[in-house]
């Protein structure tokens, strides 16, 4: 007789979670429960974390299928702001397309695009004030684009050319801009999460009014630094927004490997007493509204908020992997939360402030802008051609003052 699972003499089974579908299969998101837009409550920012636990298991959405903004989280942005938001997302997408191509042309070693996730970082940036600080991962360049950081500087960094603000020391896309509230990207995973909490603690210690935002992907929430960050944020009620961008895939690993049995990534916050919200990451209006809510909590001494952005990484992880090796090619088309640019576009058309023609014109104009920035950057060199950072930059700037052993090594290197 077969042994049952409750039979204590049955052999133990090792469990490895598997995604619903693998390459060759039909994409299936039927288990992703999508609440109707407008159906999730908007609690006051000082609500008791215990009383809003269910927000960690739902999805806050503003834009409905018709493109209307509905429900208690709607109405926060003006026509002009929304048109600008659309433009930021389009700019980021065009920028990505050109840089992705530049990598294929051998102008740099590596690139990481945001395809499908453009709303998350561009809408979030709008909820911050000047002086606030992001501790981003490599997929939040929208924070820079939406804050007016020059595209040419980003490209100079990507090309590691003679004008690279980081002097050729960092992998492409690991930008840094204190002025634009963008902490130096490590390239390690999760380390920045706890640093963001420290920055926020420092702001509180100093009696400042500025807040921090931590960023992490679904896969990296498995790192111990994620846990460390939540402990410190919870203990000291740090004025920080703890963002988790759940784009479903960590390179080839589906989100269930990091999530385990916890239901949602947002739910990780609940054990720490941190209010946790899930939001439609492809809904520009919802991302902004939730970010604003969390920022207000942080600025009002109410402490941290964990926000999970439910989105989908429509492209590859980076230029170094081919998603068709680990997920169905058509999975991206089946993603039930749609495309963030098309959704905001539809909304703006319904509002009467946008049209298909204007969109086409804007696309062309934005592409021209990106191409002209690219031309300017390429005048200063690309990774293997033209101007490049000095070999002296290997030794400079590790310490404020170069210690004797590095001076000797620089001499040995003959630079």
């Amino acid at each position: 007789m077969a042994k049952t699972s409750t039979d204590k003499s049955a052999p133990l089974r090792f469990h490895v979670p598997e995604p619903e579908v693998r390459p060759g299969g039909q994409p299936d998101f039927s288990k992703v429960v999508i609440p109707q837009a407008g159906s999730v409550e908007r609690p006051p920012v000082d609500a008791e974390p215990e009383s809003i636990r269910k927000l960690a298991f739902s999805i806050i959405r503003v834009l409905n299928r018709k493109g209307e903004a509905v429900g208690p989280w709607a109405g926060a942005l003006s026509d002009e702001e929304l048109v600008e938001g659309l433009r930021h997302m389009m700019l980021l997408r065009a920028f990505d397309a050109r840089m992705q191509m530049a990598q294929r042309q051998g102008k740099t070693s590596f690139y990481m695009q945001h395809l499908g996730e453009e709303a998350v970082s561009t809408a979030f940036r709008r909820a911050l004030e000047p002086g606030d600080m992001n501790f981003p991962t490599y997929r939040q360049a929208g924070l820079l684009i939406a804050n007016g950081y020059p595209m040419v500087s980003m490209m100079n960094q990507i090309y590691s050319n003679e004008k690279d603000p980081l002097k050729g020391r960092q992998l492409p896309v690991m930008y840094s801009s204190k002025e634009h509230g963008f902490f130096s990207i490590s390239g390690n995973l999760a380390t920045q999460y706890v640093q963001a909490v420290g920055w926020a603690m420092a702001s509180a210690i100093s009696g400042d009014t500025r807040i921090a935002a931590a960023w992490i992907g679904d896969g990296s929430t498995a790192e111990s630094d994620f846990h460390s960050a939540l402990v410190f944020a919870s203990t000291y009620k740090a004025p920080v927004i703890l963002n988790v961008v759940n784009n479903q895939w960590a390179i080839s690993t589906f989100q269930g490997i990091a999530r385990g049995g916890s239901g949602t990534f947002a739910a990780r916050g609940l054990g720490f007493g941190i209010p946790a919200l899930r939001v439609d990451g492809n809904d520009y209006l919802a991302v902004y509204a939730v970010a604003k809510w969390a920022a207000e909590r942080a600025r009002s001494n109410l402490g941290p908020t964990l926000v999970e952005y439910v989105t989908y990484r429509a492209g590859a992880h980076s230029t170094s992997d081919d998603p068709s090796a680990y997920r169905p090619k058509t999975e991206s088309d089946a993603w039930p939360l749609g495309d963030p640019i098309l959704r905001l576009k539809a909304h703006l058309i319904i509002r009467g402030v946008w049209s298909d023609d204007r969109h086409t014109q804007a696309e062309a104009q934005i592409m021209d802008e990106v191409i002209s920035a690219q031309k300017e950057a390429e005048r200063h060199g690309t990774l293997h051609a033209g101007g490049k950072p000095s070999a002296r930059d290997i030794f400079e700037g590790l310490y404020e003052e170069m210690p004797p052993h590095l001076r000797r090594q620089r001499q040995q290197a003959g630079v």
Binding site: P165, R169, S186, V197, G198, A202, V231, P404
Partner: protein, 337 residues
Amino acid sequence: MPRKSMIEAIRDGLDVMMGRDERVVVYGEDVGYFGGVFRVTAGLQAKYGKSRCFDAPINESGIVGTAIGMAAYGLRPCVEIQFADYMYPAYDQLTQEAGRIRYRSAGDFTCPIVVRMPTGGGIFGGQTHSQSPEALFTHVSGLKTVVPSNPADAKGLLISAIEDPDPVIFLEPKRLYNGPFDGHHDRPVTAWSKHELGEVPDGHYSIPLGKAAIRRKGSACTVLAYGTMVYVALAAAEETGVDAEVIDLRTLLPLDLDAVVESVKKTGRCLVIHEATTTSGFGAELVTLVQENCFYHLEAPVGRVAGWDTPYPHAQEWDYFPGPARVGRALLEVMEG
């Protein structure tokens, strides 16, 4: 001049800096209300308040990670890792983050933090309260590593470390907290109150990082040591009658190579000693530097005495610790070689 133990001297250094610079914040496990398991931070919370000195969760990666974020903000955190043996969860934050933020951001962000941690054995701490991980810090780029050997230096070096614009690892030889222990575990240790290096000036003063000190002038053989081993070397010199020149390196990185080379060229012989495990230890670096810089002045192979390449045992502590007998034998070998 007032005499202080090394614990009191380090506390004094923290007190001076917290008083002068409100950006200095102090935290770690048991550091706030209680004042630390070695009592280094006792009284600081009462004096400066809970925002400047506080207890941290038992999470070393979090302690260092938050300190890095605070430094990026503009504070000057000086955090405590309760034992150097507990630093491993923070190693990623120290090596790949703290040490590289200035470099990777081309100076856009910097990381002026100090990470204090009691190091070394001799207190029956077993394998998890006795380690000397200095080589794990000197091997990575972007950090500075300091190991004081007495109260006066500890305060002056700590003040330099806190004022330094870059991350500093500050290793406190815990066996020296109360007196200059020389490895003779069967004899009472002289208290710092009876030792001239226990004389700690009041107020603000600093000892520059990267400068060694000669603890015993001699002509026969140079002994390169730091931390507890400085006193072991002094004892070995007295007991063997070898006229050793004992150099206390004080800072391992940046290293005072000039002081090392000058002394070895004078004596023609060199012994390198440390308590940490032998293989790939900081001693290997010192031996290489001496060989590279002093080869034609050497009259004998450079000697090395260090901890055995095993975990630090509990009951066999004194068989493990490289005490004056082992160091003395090595001194005589270098003299004969």
